[in-house]
Amino acid sequence: MKKYLRCLAAGALSAGMCLGSGLARAEDTIKIAFIAPFSGAFAANGDAWLKMLTFAMNNVNAKGGALGKKFELVTFDDKIQPAEALIQLKAATDQNLPIILGGIGSNVAAAMEEGVEKYNRRNPEHRALYLNLSALSMPLTEENCSFWHFRFASNVTQRVASLIKGLPKDITKVYLMNQDYLYGQGVESDTKKFLAKFRPDVKIVGDEFVPMGKIKDFSSYIPKIKESGAQALITSNWGPDFNLLMKSGNEGGLDIKYYTFSAHLNGGPTSMGPEGGNRTITVLEGHDNVGADNHIPTAEDFVKRWRDTKPGIDFVWTNFQTTFDMLAAAINKAGSTDPLKVALALEGMQTTDIYGHVNTMRKADHQIQMPLYTALFTKPVPNDSEGTGWGWKTESMVSAEDLTFPTACQMKRPDGT
């Protein structure tokens, strides 16, 4: 009876239910804001990101956190809308959470970078620092680069370069298909650039833009692709635009390889299933079989502990761990969580990732320099993805040095730095 009463009391407040770790918080933590979509069309990404971030954070906390304190994540829902993200930015700074993680959706990231830059200019006593986990578009670290923005993921150019470098020698005819917006257009122009540079033998037999999320049946593209004689399709399509494309391709008997950038993200393996097997190659920071393939004990242990939490998804954003490692190191180095000091400490910082590679946060544009993998969706693999029986197997690895490109960033630095 008592239990029921307690439940009743609990129910009585369920209208005002709190997110996450609840009210009984230890006060002595370093709180980090995480602004991401938790409702709306991209809520699944917010959830998946949070899960991986929390795991990465717990790893750092287990090693003692920073300044003797543990980290703690506070989430804010931006609903994948820039305006809403800026409101939540204000909410975070109000709560004195100067370090802000984010990076789902290039539109939101662009708004956040600008917003933080202006906020810092106008509120020099209460600055904020924006750590971008996964928004890849180039302007963020090129023409719009900001001192207060750090990108902890490889950008579009680096991804395309590693894909082209990893392209097998026997592929000489490729077909390009990209979504008709900034990201897809960036991928397309970089693909052409790097093909000309690294693989002049490869011929582009088709170059297509599709409107984002509008095409329900890709079968009309299949004859075009087939006719072109392409051996591989390089596409930045993600979500339904990729899944429907591959579905139509398979149904139409199109026997080619799909070189992608997002097929590994949460939900990707599930929607591909066996249909994507042995034909989908993706560019990624890491996957759950890198450790087992190359016998890296730290990575194997990492994946084992990750899988023990029954996450349902692969830990593909291995850079999330790097983010927290660097952040903890920077806070320790700075001796405080003051955004300016932390930012200065982050510049040029080097840490070793779970695979043993050295990652560098470049000072010039605040873009992380790290190796990238390309992997094939295949079986059998030691650790399958999302319970499909299929999983990722490394095809190639391109080192950080090979992915270091000059930047056009002209950063406006704070006075005296």
Partner: protein
């Protein structure tokens, strides 16, 4: 020939899927005057229920049961929801279904999660039926055509050969007349609404694995179905059929055209340059704007012919 035949076939398949959704909507719209915003939501529920059921009792049983579930949901919506808002006018009814769509979309996310579910074509139908100019035509698409065609036939028979069908048909063109003839119009309304939802559910069952079953599937298909219904015209099933096929074809054909306005107006574009908005608009190839054509077609037809292609009344 090969340029034409493949898109023709695929456009037809897509058009038939649209028709399955649109026919139910057009029945509801013509009779009750309600443009049911939740219709695509029901389609999504159909797909998800079919996914769950196909794992429990197999695809074929799901093909029977899932649409019935949707019909039951539809009847519930009509009896407990729409009927109560009826006296507040069509706008209120439309807004009711609009709000319902919000809830369905979020509810589906809550129950089935936010990621796509692996709802796949049954193994029995997972083979290429024939090859056409080197491109396979999957058996499942033929099956879809079969179901859609069968459904078309069934609706026709139902409407022309049964008493209920005759009443419905009369209600399509003269809704006030039928009620004044003393027929139990509320019951007919419920029946039509449930029937429309049944069709949407059926479309969900066979469309869910033809496309991807995910929470955004309704929001992305919904507007297109409206376009089909409005374009085809109120109170006309044949108009609905024609416009489904037309829009299915337009969407699939447009992507195979690479030309742009700039090709036609070469010198003018050279003069404007491509580095401004006007030049940008002109130099976009047709294949990229293809999916927008239906909306432009809808706006156009509503401006000049509000009753749509073959409609009997103004929208």
């Amino acid at each position: 020939m090969e340029i034409v035949l493949n898109p023709l076939l695929n456009g037809f398949v897509y058009g038939m899927l649209l028709f399955m959704l649109a026919s139910g909507l057009t029945l509801i719209f013509s009779m009750m005057g309600v443009l049911n915003f939740a219709h695509a939501g029901i389609y999504m529920i159909g797909a998800y229920v079919a996914f769950d059921m196909s794992r429990l009792i197999g695809f074929w049983a799901a093909l029977i049961v899932a649409p019935l579930v949707c019909a039951a949901i539809g009847a519930g919506i009509e009896v407990w929801g729409l009927r109560r808002t009826h006296h507040n006018g069509h706008i209120a009814e439309l807004l009711f279904t609009f709000g319902l769509f919000f809830i369905i979309e979020r509810g589906v996310q809550m129950v089935w999660g936010m990621l796509p579910v692996p709802y796949r074509v049954p193994a029995l139908l997972d083979f290429p039926l024939f090859r056409l100019y080197g491109v396979d035509f999957p058996a499942y698409r033929a099956f879809m055509l079969l179901i859609a065609g069968g459904m078309l036939l069934a609706i026709r028979l139902l409407l022309t050969r049964t008493r209920v069908g005759l009443i419905i048909q009369a209600s399509l063109t003269h809704p006030q007349m039928v009620s004044s003839l003393g027929h139990n119009v509320p019951r007919v309304f419920t029946l039509v609404f449930a029937g429309g939802c049944y069709l949407a559910g059926l479309a969900g069952v066979i469309g869910g694995n033809y496309q991807v079953t995910e929470p955004a599937m309704a929001a992305s298909l919904g507007p297109i179905v409206f376009v089909v219904v409005v374009f085809g015209g109120l109170g006309s099933l044949s108009g609905c059929f024609v416009s489904s096929i037309v829009i299915g074809m337009v969407q699939t054909f447009a992507v195979s055209i690479d030309g742009s306005l700039a090709d036609l107006l070469g010198p003018i574009v050279a003069w404007i340059g491509t580095d401004n908005l006007a030049g940008e608009i002109l130099s976009i190839p047709v294949s990229r704007v293809g999916p927008l054509l239906p909306y432009a077609m809808m706006v156009g037809i509503l401006m000049f012919r509000p009753r749509g292609l073959m409609g009997t009344r103004d929208t």
